[in-house]
């Protein structure tokens, strides 16, 4: 269960963003998570309230967008959608492929509440 460590990291990251914009709260957090990132979205959702309690991100809504697995073949140069267990090229079956998307764990966007005087 390393998702709590990841949530702690996320909370400190969004808190920094909120502070730099003089926000009073973080209301929405948008994450891009790849299937091969090693992170379970459900566990992230469960861990988030514990990590964000009593921070600017307390009660923020966590939106997780799962990124598909896509590779580019280094032999036939075509791209294909693949599964976690088999990243081989679906055109020529070569296993010499490069991941184009699917291992990201990225903070894409935050929505902040900014109080006006």
């Amino acid at each position: 269960m390393h998702e709590l460590s990841i949530c702690n990291s996320l909370v400190s990251q969004v808190t920094k963003v909120a502070q730099s914009h003089h926000a009073s709260a973080v209301t929405h957090i948008y994450l891009n998570v790849g299937l091969l990132s090693g992170v379970e979205p459900q566990l992230l959702q469960q861990a988030f309230p514990f990590a964000s309690a009593e921070t600017l991100a307390d009660n923020a809504e966590l939106h997780i967008s799962m990124e598909p697995l896509e590779v580019r073949c280094l032999e036939c140069f075509q791209t294909s959608k693949v599964t976690m267990q088999n990243l081989s090229c679906s055109h020529c079956q070569s296993w010499k492929t490069q991941l184009l998307s699917g291992d990201e764990l990225t903070l894409a966007r935050v929505e902040l509440k900014i109080d006006e005087d």
Binding site: M1, H2, S5, I6, S9, L10, S12, Q13, V14, V17, H21, A23, S24, T27, L31, N32, G34, L36, S37, G38, V39, E67, V71, M84, Q85, N86, L87, S88, W95, K96, T97, Q98, L99, L100, S101, G102, D103, E104, L105, T106, L107, A108, R109, V110, E111, L112, K113, I114, D115, E116, D117
Partner: protein, 269 residues
């Protein structure tokens, strides 16, 4: 006028919404600490491996035999990560090399800041090769860069040859894959070295696969040779102001933004 309910500003202050695009790796803090560790290691000419596997697959035994073989050639040190006990560090110290035990308590993996603290306790100028034995776990350690140079993932024959398919995140991160306990192959019907390698290749991983048994000295040569060769390659890279990066440094399209190490005083405290 308040934009929410139309009341006068004197009644309560209004607030507005602001959307900020960030596009930053969630673990960028760990990654910059890891980059600093790697810089420290490179400055001391230390090649550092991160050993990962499930519990009981033979990480400590592999280290014991490796130290026995290479300790006259290289000055070796070990950082041990375990949930509890100093048992593994004691086994390493019995071989005559320094070992720092990190007891993680309930944490299921090592992180870069823990390794940084351990590096403070080692006599870095007196080390050529550093092994970090991560917490026995085929899931969590794969997500955290520690500042090492290469990942060594162990798979013991008793675990079955389909582990790379079951734990793709871990096995995709392997720079070197070691199949341990091959002396048991005759007794097992669910491990075929060739099939294990195919399962690894299906993860688009080109890492060398080394089958070995620490009980059979004749099976260890390829492993020792690879370590010696990797050490030479690292020295050559350093001469060109380059270094090794472990495979877990992500390749995904949204992550082209590099993280930079910024010195902070908080992590030194």
């Amino acid at each position: 006028m308040c934009i929410t309910c139309g009341c006068s500003p004197s009644k309560h202050s209004a607030s507005k919404k602001k959307v900020v695009d960030v596009f930053e790796k969630v673990l960028s803090n760990n990654d910059s600490l890891a980059a600093r560790n790697r810089l420290i290691l490179d400055q001391h000419n230390i090649l550092c491996f991160n050993l990962m596997s499930s519990p009981g697959s033979g990480k400590t035994s592999l280290l014991e035999v490796t130290i026995e073989q290479l300790k006259d050639q290289y000055r070796i040190a070990v950082i041990e990560g375990d949930l509890e006990t100093e048992n593994d560090a004691k086994r390493i110290r019995d071989k005559g090399v320094p070992a720092i035990q990190i007891v993680t308590g309930s944490a299921c993996h090592l992180e870069a800041d823990m390794v940084f603290s351990a590096l403070q306790k080692l006599d870095l100028p007196a080390i050529d090769l550093l092994f970090i034995e991560n917490v026995g776990n085929l899931v969590c350690p794969a997500s955290f860069d520690l500042g090492h140079h290469q990942n060594i993932t162990l798979l013991s024959t008793t675990e079955g040859d389909d582990k790379p398919a079951k734990y793709p995140v871990m096995f995709r991160a392997a720079d070197i894959c070691v199949f341990t306990k091959t002396d048991l192959l005759d007794y097992l019907d669910d491990f075929d070295v060739h099939q294990a390698e195919i399962n690894l290749r299906q993860l688009a991983n080109t890492a060398p696969c080394i089958p070995l048994s620490t009980r059979q000295p004749q099976s260890m040569k390829a492993w020792f040779d690879l370590l010696v060769q990797t050490k030479l390659q690292h020295q050559q890279k350093l001469k060109q102001q380059k270094t090794f990066l472990p495979k877990m440094q992500k390749e995904g399209k949204t992550l082209h933004k590099e993280t930079h190490y910024e010195p902070t005083s908080t992590v030194l405290a």
